[in-house]
Amino acid sequence: MTPANFDGLMPVVIFMGLAVALFVGGHFASVLLAPKKPSHLKSTPYECGEQPVGSAWSMFNVRFYVVGLIFIIFDVESVLMFPVAAIFRELNDMGHGGYALIVFLSFISILIEGIAYCWKKGDLDWVKSFQVSTKNNK
């Protein structure tokens, strides 16, 4: 809780910078060292030796989105729970443990309702996916 220095954030930036530096350096080394003999066949997308038919940017299942959807809701809820969890013990030591528990549990119970709903409606089953073919990319 002591007032901290902005310099404490430095490692975060330094490590990101190192990652970028490593990436660029690796690339540079690769450019220097690696042979360069491009050919059309070499740069065909790999399809077990067959000629690729059509673009790959069209095959997917709406299930992926539903998973992402459930994820983001849970993600946000856990974000909101973090500060409360962080002070939970403090509140308990201050004698507000019961109150904090009620606040916390009512929040979680709504979270549980969400997962129960999705479970009941089959959003959590992967196999049950109805294989919606999204016709597109005309």
Partner: protein
């Protein structure tokens, strides 16, 4: 240099770019991108004011809830986009004319 005004200016420019994206683009997902920019600009303002103008962290709470609402908005908005695409096979905003007339 790192005063309130500079944050306000950054947030304003962000907001204006968001508005431009929202108006100029016809792709619904792109419009949602613009909305995200606008929301972030607003949240940035809250935090900036919280540091420079007030002595409490209510601004932080506000921007937290902005982020929460933005996430919910993105989830529902994109779901609508996907459903719209399945029906209309396009996500061009001007094709959303069913409720017209």
């Amino acid at each position: 240099m790192m005063g309130l005004a500079s944050y306000l200016i950054i947030s304003l420019i962000l907001f204006v770019i968001g508005i431009t994206v929202m108006i100029a683009r016809k792709n619904i997902v792109a419009i949602l991108l613009g909305i995200e920019l606008v929301l972030n600009a607003a949240a940035l303002n809250f935090v900036a004011y919280s540091r420079f103008a007030t002595n409490n962290l209510d601004g932080h709470i506000f921007s937290l809830f902005i982020i929460v609402v933005a996430a919910a908005e993105a989830a529902v908005g994109l779901a609508i986009v996907i459903r719209f695409f399945q029906i209309k096979e396009t996500i061009h905003v001007d094709e959303a004319t069913t409720l017209r007339n």
